[in-house]
């Protein structure tokens, strides 16, 4: 272990407090001056079942979970007990899981701390051989006993954290501070006692291993946030004050974050009967003059297909979040995949105009959530923020200043009553809401309650006043105008100081990697490693899915001789989109695909790249697939 980074994994039964314990630990590391990145692995069940959280902490910024890990804290799974055994724990093979299930990825020289009060290593076949082979340092500790002795059994998480801290040379102060923030009274006191006693007990023993916590210092105040926070806070800062939704993993995180805060922001949150209603409510609120959003995951988003079309046709600004998980159908609720891209781009009937952003990092979630609102309201068009289970749940440290931006409550292209009085009206008195001729396709809207602004917003093709009309000339004029918006939006995005696409690596690199969404950081890390190995590689993280950033991607692809496209699905949806939009480069692009429910690790991308460059079609492992370039 170099001392510049540490990857710690806490494993146990889901429902055993793994999540909150790891969050505290992560925060303590961040407060100690480190950059942190977390990865959550959990099954789709409420209690029991194997779960782990991995925390990567380093003295430099980290962009992915890394590969492998250094330190395992295996807690006993309290829900794996035999209820018949009079309250006593039952330790069959099944219950050694938090220990057994995690050994494959533990690095050489790694440390294992396990709760000998609940787990029995001797039940694992070959355990001793593997320990020896890998030079692991194993510390069985009676965490449950310690917790019982000084507090309550449930506090064995705290004992485990104390043991970890003692073993990697951390003080208890940051943990006590955090406990002070979150607890009070009796609970606080007992937890602190457990923490201190367990720490002392472990420290007094003579352990030898060479894993330490790296040291670092931040020059700016840091916060620990995930993609769901990014999206929610971006929406709040952009003046979103209405959300309607129906729970579905992993969208629920964005939904509940908004629901928790909207009332204190003077806004309204609604949990409604289904996703059709949710999207329809967002449209109703937006039509009535409030910035609104809704969202779901794949299956719920499928139900929103028709309201999405209504928003397009009535030109009502609408922001939807699509937090992808593995499909089809209910698929794997707690596992990430990037398999909904085409669903997001093309769902709903007719020639569809919408804007789709797929942020690549938590920071981009905030930025692009704001952008999604700005574009939706300025151009009166639905925008979709596509994230996935990985991005929505991973906690990452970043400077607080990332969120330090002024609110933007501007409703976009809305007329004031004064402007309405000067605007063109139909002889019936109705406002010409959907004029044929504005240059960028946007004809300003009015809000119900504004004097003289009334019009009909119809999901049927309509006249400038909004009345149902199938006249061919009117139809062509309206379709042309609505379609013109996408060109205007492309110009708008291209004209900005900072692009939403993220180039990485040496500009004159020979080879390229194209990536979209949550895999961006992992790819960037792989780019660094490859360049360190003497390769010449750069990457482009693409966020704009529609309208597609043709110019930027073309330039990127022209500048490299070969390009690997990395994404989590089997049909290479993003590569397909790129080829369709650019109409060429088929022979330059090959794909690295993964769809087993886990995101890429940097090493897999490195290997995949090497195979592409050096030839061969053996994927880095059985879980990853190579799709060669056209004509290969």
């Amino acid at each position: 272990m170099t001392g510049s980074e540490l990857i710690w994994r806490i494993a146990g039964g889901s429902g055993d407090g793994i999540d909150s314990t790891s969050q505290n630990f992560t925060k303590a590391l961040m407060r100690a001056g480190l950059h942190v990145f977390t990865h959550r692995h959990y099954p789709s069940r409420i209690r029991g079942g194997h779960t782990y959280v991995e925390v990567r902490a380093a003295d430099h910024p980290v962009k992915s979970r890394g590969d492998g890990y250094d330190f395992l804290l295996a807690l006993g799974d309290s829900f794996a007990r035999n209820p018949q055994a009079s309250g006593e724990a039952y330790y069959g093979n099944e219950e050694a899981k938090p220990l057994a299930e995690n050994l494959d990825e533990l690095r050489e020289g790694g440390v294992i701390v396990y709760d000998e009060g609940l787990l029995d290593a001797s039940e694992i076949e070959d355990f001793d051989e593997r320990v020896e082979e890998n030079d692991w340092h194993v510390y069985p500790l009676d965490l449950r006993g310690l917790a019982r002795e000084h507090g309550r059994e449930i506090m064995r998480n705290t004992a485990g954290v104390a043991a970890t801290a003692a073993l990697i040379g951390m003080e208890t102060d940051p943990f006590e501070e955090l406990m002070n923030d979150r607890m009070s009274g009796d609970i606080l006191e007992t937890n602190i006692t457990v923490l201190e006693e367990a720490y002392e007990e472990v420290e007094s023993k003579d352990f030898s291993h060479d894993i330490e916590v790296p040291t670092g210092e931040h020059d700016e105040e840091q916060v620990l946030v995930n993609g769901s926070h990014g999206v929610a806070y971006g929406a709040l800062d952009e003046g979103c004050r209405f959300i309607a939704g129906y729970p579905m993993t992993p969208w629920t995180d964005v939904f509940t974050t908004m629901t928790q805060h909207l009332p204190e922001f003077g806004g309204i949150a609604e949990q409604v009967e289904d996703e059709i209603a949710a999207a329809a409510l967002a449209i109703g609120a937006s039509h009535a003059g409030v910035k609104a959003m809704s969202g779901s995951s794949g299956g719920g988003f499928a139900l929103m297909s028709e309201p999405l079309g209504l928003a397009e046709m009535t030109e009502t600004p609408l922001v939807l979040v699509e937090a992808m998980r593995a499909g089809p159908s209910t698929g794997m609720p707690t596992k990430p995949e990037q398999g909904d891209l085409e669903h997001i781009l093309y769902t709903s009937q007719g020639d569809s105009n919408r804007v789709v952003f797929a942020p690549g990092t938590v920071e981009e979630c905030y930025e692009q959530s704001r952008e999604a609102f700005r574009i939706a309201y300025e151009y009166q068009i639905p925008t979709i923020i596509a994230i996935d289970q990985k991005l929505s749940g991973e906690l990452v440290s970043m400077p607080a200043s990332v969120f330090d931006r002024e609110p933007n409550p501007d409703l976009g292209s809305v007329l004031t009553e004064e402007e309405i009085s000067e605007a063109a009206h139909h002889e019936s008195g109705k406002y010409n809401r959907f004029q044929h001729d504005p240059e960028n396709g946007v004809s300003p809207r009015t809000i119900p309650g504004q004097s003289g602004g009334r019009f009909l917003a119809s999901g049927n093709e309509h006249t400038p006043q909004g009345h149902i009309e199938e006249d061919p000339d009117n139809r062509v004029a309206q379709v042309d105008r609505r379609t013109r918006k996408l060109e205007a939006i492309r110009d708008d995005l291209d004209g900005k100081d900072t692009s939403q696409q993220t180039p990485y690596g040496p500009e004159d690199a020979e080879h390229g990697i194209l990536v979209w969404g949550s895999q961006q950081g992992t790819v960037e890390e792989a780019v660094d490693r490859l360049n360190d190995q003497g390769e010449s590689v750069k990457s482009l993280g693409v966020s704009d899915m529609m309208p597609y950033p043709k110019k930027e991607v073309t330039e990127f692809l022209e500048s490299v001789d070969e390009c690997l496209v990395v994404e989590m699905n089997i049909t290479a949806q993003f590569r397909g989109l790129t080829q369709k939009e650019l109409g060429r480069f088929g022979e330059k692009m090959s794909s690295l695909l993964k769809y087993n429910g886990n995101p890429f690790e940097p090493a897999e991308v490195v290997e995949g790249f090497e195979i592409q460059i050096n030839g061969g079609d053996e994927p880095p492992n059985a879980q990853v697939r190579i799709e060669p370039a056209a004509g290969d």
Binding site: G284, H287, A288, V290, A292, L310, L411, G429, P448, A457
Partner: protein, 314 residues
């Protein structure tokens, strides 16, 4: 000054402008001659000036169907939405701006079929709005298929052997779901219809009107709603409209009788005491006192920032 100066202006007019909603140059309805939908339009146009609302402060959201075209022929802010979804759209508009007069309308297929779930939940929440369902016991726009209110045994191209299903009972469904005002009226009785729509709009809560509209084109039995009896005008029906149980009893009787050819109309349930959803949400602090929509027009409003939430993340 209010951000929406149209709001409240109707009420301030000393003289009721009876032509406000009838400018005469709107598109002419494309409904068939003799269609009951004309009756709804007429009653609605008649009711609005009575409640003192102006076109610019009114939002009418409709679904899809012959009934859904109502918003095309009615001079207010309108939204002609998607089949079955007028309610969620309308209720969000009401939450966003409680000062707006919000009305939703649609057909029986629209409201009791595809949008049945929304109907149940909007009634349950008791949003302060009016919902008019054009009940013609048939799918009109898609050319005469059996609808959720078609009587058992009804034959159509989609039910060639005669429907084996009992019809939906809209009044009972509404009451059970939680609507605080439930009435039935008929296109053949414009006076009662206007009165009931007026009362429903003035009601503070979810007012559901099952509006019997004949479809002479697809429902051969086009005169089915004549003769009718107004339960409030008849000595034969004495029940307390504010009593849930009595109302429920009366609704059962009414719904049983409809297909035997005895048509009862009138107010079936009125609960003036139940708080509307908006009021409930305001009382728990879940919703601001001032209309949210106003805030975007208020240059002095101090917009909160997400930055203040970061403390929990440090």
């Amino acid at each position: 000054m209010s951000a929406f100066s149209a709001i409240g202006s109707g009420e301030q007019d000393e003289e009721i402008d009876r032509d406000a909603f009838t400018p005469g140059i709107e598109p002419q309805p494309t409904w068939c001659p003799g269609c009951g939908d004309f009756g709804v339009l007429k009653a609605l146009k008649g009711a609005m000036p009575e409640v003192g609302r102006s076109p610019d402060e009114t939002l009418l959201a409709t679904g899809i169907g012959c009934s859904g075209k109502l918003s095309s022929y009615f001079d207010s802010y309108g939204m002609h939405t998607i089949h079955g979804r007028s309610l969620p759209i309308a209720r969000a508009a009401k939450l966003a701006n409680p000062d707006l007069e919000v009305i939703a309308a649609g057909g029986d297929g629209d409201g009791y079929g595809i949008g049945g779930n929304h109907f149940m939940h909007t009634a349950r929440e008791n949003h302060d709005m009016t919902y008019i369902v054009f009940n013609n016991e048939i799918f009109g726009l898609t050319k005469g298929q059996t609808s959720p209110t078609s009587p058992k045994g009804h034959k159509s191209k989609t039910q060639p052997h005669g429907s084996a299903k009992d019809p939906v009972r809209p009044l009972s469904l509404s009451l059970t779901s939680g609507a605080s005002y439930v009435a039935r009226t008929a296109a053949v009785n414009p006076r009662q219809a206007t009165e009931i729509i007026t009362e429903a709009i003035e009601h503070d809560g979810f007012a559901h009107i099952d509006f019997l509209t004949q479809c002479p084109t697809w429902n051969k039995d086009a005169k089915q709603y004549v003769p009718y009896t107004d339960v409030q005008q008849s000595d034969d029906y004495d029940f307390d409209v504010t009593d849930r149980r009595e109302a429920a009893e009366m609704m059962h009787e009414t719904e049983d009788k409809l297909h035997e050819g005895e048509v009862l109309t009138g107010r079936f349930y009125v609960d003036e005491n139940r708080h509307s959803y908006g009021q409930e949400k305001r009382s728990t602090g879940e919703m601001p006192e001032e209309p949210l929509a106003e805030r975007y027009f208020d240059d002095d409003y101090e917009w909160e920032r997400s930055y203040d939430l970061l403390d929990a993340h440090k």
